[in-house]
């Protein structure tokens, strides 16, 4: 058998799962969709003593509209995000982002909660949560709390989650129906990790930008919020946007690195271009509509 031995539990409730996590004292791993955890177990790069499978917890599978936003349970599959009518209406950019996660076969298992908890810097869903200003509801036997997505990621695969905490909901704020979505990813092949990616949402009110949420993925050790570009966008008239200058501001917040897939310089160059192109195309589309 490929994985090292572990004790497997499949609790039916959040309380039970939290109790198991507390009891394991840091030796447990939560199993959601398993599309990253299972390879890590098979390669024995991860050797937990206890695996807590949350797939049998029905109360973690929901998509609901509630007080000024949309709540998504962590065990909602990426393929379910793509086909969900509420999300198509309320968070179309999340739906687009989910279409770029892995492959059809892995999206059928992979979950939003698993992706958010893993914190892969080149992943689409953590960056989308950061861009749109989501917050993550986290539970343990000690407390229930909310972590803002932009404070969640500390480094590659390092998050603000403690070892006894379980994600119980991903809460997105309300974005109006006519929000302009921004999404572009550069990868060598579909399903590969992004070399550089941009995700965001822009609200336009009477010809001016009223609100903007933008983040990079694959452009640093964590998903990165393009704060300077967001600030510069708000208040601008859409007729007089200087996309090049905004792209420079957006890049200024990124912190790309060299690895065997691409150099930092390549990532910066590509990111600049996709920013300009994605923003210009979205605006053109908006003006034509």
């Amino acid at each position: 058998m490929k994985p090292a031995p572990f004790d497997y539990y499949a609790p039916k409730s959040v309380e039970e799962a939290c109790a198991l996590l507390a009891e394991a004292g840091g030796g447990a791993t939560v199993l959601a969709g398993g599309q990253t955890l299972l390879p890590l177990l098979a390669l024995r790069m991860s050797q937990p003593f206890v695996v807590i499978d949350i797939n049998r917890i029905e109360s973690l599978k929901f998509v609901s509209r509630a007080d000024g936003g949309t709540r998504i349970g962590p065990v909602v599959r990426q393929s379910e995000i793509i086909s969900n009518d509420i999300l198509k209406q309320a968070l179309p950019v999340l739906v687009t982002a989910a279409q770029h996660v892995g492959h059809h076969q892995t999206r059928n298992r992979g979950t939003i909660g698993g992706s958010i908890a893993l914190g892969e810097p080149a992943a689409e869903l953590p960056a989308t949560a950061v861009a749109l200003g989501a917050s993550i509801e986290v539970r343990s036997v000690r407390s229930v709390k909310k972590i803002r997505a932009e404070e969640m990621y500390l480094g590659p695969y390092a998050t603000a989650l403690s070892s006894d905490e379980l994600i119980t909901s991903i809460d997105f704020p309300e974005w109006p129906v006519n929000t302009m979505p921004l999404f572009r990813e550069i990868a060598r092949r579909p399903g590969d990790f992004a070399l550089a990616g941009l995700v965001g949402a822009v609200v336009i009110e009477s010809g001016r930008i009223a609100r903007a949420g933008i983040a990079w993925f694959g452009m640093g050790p964590t998903p990165i919020k393009a704060r300077q570009a967001e600030a510069a966008l708000v208040g601008q008239s859409i007729g007089s946007l200087d996309a090049q200058r905004l792209a420079e501001l957006a890049i200024a917040d990124a912190d790309p690195f060299d690895d065997r897939h691409a150099t930092a310089e390549y990532r910066r160059t590509v990111a600049r271009r996709i920013f300009v192109r994605t923003l210009s195309e979205a605006l053109k589309q908006r003006q034509a509509a």
């Binding site: 490929k2 499949a10 398993g34 059809h104 076969q105």
Partner: protein
């Protein structure tokens, strides 16, 4: 180390077993249940050869634990054709279009296409072609697989870009 009693349906037959928590579904299907049509290639979720259908959806069986398939309906390539002497329409299309050579990736490819075309909604060729990103084939260069998909979707080669 924990052991678990599971009960699942494999190709319509009820199967009971006791498995270790760490047993992968792919290994369980091959070694314990004898369905060697489940091919294991990379064993860490990259190649797609071990794809099976679990409760109607194509999934990589090396990325699920056997214990997670408890109370599930699993279909492997052995469960597709009506009998020993016939082929499922997808298998027939792949044979007709020379969509395989060594055959190692084939069961996975067939199961993904079977899952996508098995429901009430018939996906278009674009959707089926996109799903092939999840499979690695080192013999065919995918051209035969592509032709088989276009045939299944009832589209001619000329219509595709």
């Amino acid at each position: 180390m924990s052991e678990h009693k599971i009960e699942l349906s494999i190709n319509g037959r009820r199967q009971r077993a006791t498995v270790e928590g760490r047993m992968l579904l792919s290994d369980f299907l091959r070694v314990d249940a004898g369905y060697t049509g489940v091919h294991v290639g990379c064993e860490h979720g990259v190649c797609g050869a071990c794809t099976v259908i679990v409760d109607g959806l194509a999934v990589r069986s090396c990325l699920m634990l056997a214990v997670q398939a408890d109370r599930c309906k699993v279909t492997t390539v052995e469960g597709l054709a009506a009998d020993e002497n016939s082929l499922h329409p997808i298998q027939q299309a792949m044979r007709d279009e020379h969509a395989l050579q060594c055959g190692f990736c084939t069961p996975g490819v067939v199961m993904t296409l079977a899952a996508l075309t098995g429901g009430a909604e018939k996906p278009d060729a674009e959707t089926l072609l996109a799903s092939m990103s999840g499979h690695v084939c080192r013999c065919t260069g995918y051209q035969g697989i592509r032709r088989a998909i276009l045939k299944l979707a009832g589209e001619s080669e000329a219509k595709q870009p």
